[in-house]
Amino acid sequence: MDNIVVEALIRALAVGTPLLLACLGAIINERGGVVNLGVEGMMAVGALAAFAVASSSPDANLWLAVGASMLAGAALASLHAVATVTLRANQFVSGLALALIGTGAAGLLGKKFEGLPLFNKVADWNLGGFVINPFTVAALLLAAALAFYLNSTRSGLTLRSVGENPAAADVLGVNVGAVRIWAVLAGGSLSGLAGAFLALSYRASWADNMTAGLGWIAVALVIFVGWRPLRAVLGALFFGFLYYLQFRLQGNSPIPTEVFNAMPFILVLVVLALAGLRGQQGDAPAGLGRAYVRGER
């Protein structure tokens, strides 16, 4: 019995890691007032970039692979930044496009990497008997750092203000557009990092559609955790656990696999329903989802 609980926890942490990384990224851009639904796409290009670098030679630098994933995520996010901040396009439509472009481009460019071996993967750390993945450690530290950044630094206050009331920040000389662009890029790089975890550690391979809906869950998770980084840790763990449960059930049950394939999206609905029940929508930054135009009320 103990073993099952421990294993469940370990697996929940593992699946929870990309959820947490992507969720923290989305918290950054959403606290700045920009919704980015393209997490799934940014995660996919991040995974591909990491795998491409890591599989290029037997002694490839894994740090370089991680850096590539973050750059790739940020590069894709830059399309969203230009479209929604500079050109003031609809954030939801642009984000959906980003998800499709990202997964599509990664699938196309990734064909030649399918089935290739990874020379060395990011191995788990054994901390005095407790085995933990470096990505998980990084994600947990990032959550704490982001909480501190948002609540206790001047720059974090500026970011939150831009997300709540961009007009108020603008009048005080804050460059609303620049803050939002940086927030979108930061969010994209963390989504890319989530992809790197999948490619370099969790799956240690590249396959088309390997993100498997995790990005969509992360988008919904932001709402579930009320845009708070520390709550995101618990939220990611919880949904990582549900995701793990799905794998366990898949093996020995009469339920058709199509139902399990639909699971990530059912989870998204569950996340939103739970958030709605707790009245969480009211925690959204007041300026979320709307382009800022000076002089418009």
């Binding site: 630094t153 206050l157 009048v171």
Partner: protein, 524 residues
Amino acid sequence: MTQPQPASSRPPALELRGITKRFPGVVANDSVDLTVDGGEVLALLGENGAGKSTLISILYGLYQPDEGTVSLGGQPVRIGSPAEARKLGIGLVPQHPLLVSRHSVAENLALGGGQASRGGGLFPARGVAGRVRELSEKYGLEVDPTARVSDLSPGEKQRVEIIRALLGGARVLILDEPTSVLTPQEASGLFRVMRELRADGRSLIFISHKLDEVLDVADRVTVLRRGRVVGGVPTAGATRESLAELMVGRGVDFTRKRGAALARGEVLLDVQNLTASGSRGLPALRGVGFTLGRGEVLGVAGIAGNGQSELVEVLAGLHPARGTITLDGQPLTGGAEARFQGGVAHIPEDRIHSGTVPSMTVADNLALRGYGRSPLARGLARDLKATDERARQDVEHYSVATPGIHTPSRLLSGGNIQKLILARELHGQPKLILAVHPTYGLDIGATDQVHRVLLERTNEGAGVLLVSEDLDELLSLSDRIGVMVGGELRGPFPVSEVTRESLGLLMGGAHPHSIPGAGQGVVA
């Protein structure tokens, strides 16, 4: 126009020379000259569209003037943005506070740097709190730095804006219609602060429609009309009448618009024990009951958010409630359309967004009530000829200034949009007229016309429920006045038994018994 010069030859703290600003089709400011000295309060007076807002926007760096110069202490300056204005020592206290509601007062004040940004990048709110307390004490600006802005009253939010301007080092402080959201008591608190700031050598520009306040707090008045300065006088020796004449260009009658209060006639509307919850599920109405007689104007005063909006929406059929409402002996039930046909007209609070569809034409907006019925429809089809015909009549009868009946209503001024709404709502002889802030933001001319139309209807036997934040309007039109406090109705009291001051105290939550002379005889 020469302004009185200070005794010394020191240059004025702020000087505008020949400021001209043109917009397509309008000259908003036409070679405006204006000076303010240190330690002086200048009132800027003018009707809507006189060019006050444009002038403020130029001073605060939101617009660039087409011609003319702005000088601070004798030095010509270019003000490219609000942030630059703040650096130059010009602060604005906007009419509607521009604050992040979810953040604390200190966090709001720490945003954007300025003098408040001392102490590096960590814990920005901590450094500010001390400075806020300092300023609070020095000028009597009471605010708790740790409070959330969303929990503050309008007066407190305004104090946060004043503190923000002072933290930014403002020597020239512009207050844009600061008293429009305050009770009379809060307003006199603000005036005390303004006098402290003046004593400290700062320059204040005070924008207001309210002539009594201008006479009370300002040293000098500059009057704008149609973009030009038409007069500048010291307040010593000026009167309400002389200022109003300068502002409007003709004499204005300040006597009560309504004659003696009406003897209570037959009951038209009977409201008993009305209870409703607000948008956040909190109780918005707690057992409200009153009667309204035929031909009576019942004024409802109160600080925004005390249930006035909900009361009107419940009566108009837009908000669910428990309790009984009887109109003309019949229970008043059903949705908004049924109630309109039953004789309830509604002049809503937000005239642009709830009162009209801004992108639709004047004619279609006028037809919003009843476009599906004869005479505006035949069977399933609208009768566009009849619609246009009625629109032409309405536009003429209510003198709505519009380029044509097929012009989108968003192009109309506030006063003309309000006349359009009156024309539409008053079709078919309503028995009960619910009017919410009917003249908010309108100039003296349009206000006069709206008041006349409402009073005409009372002569024909209609009852008017008038919700307003303008106490002068309530005192000038109402037969009785009630005050909404926390979802309860205090009163109503006959208008002869209340004053601005007693209404102000009631709005602030004082109990009627504790106010000398305030309608003891009426409260059971």
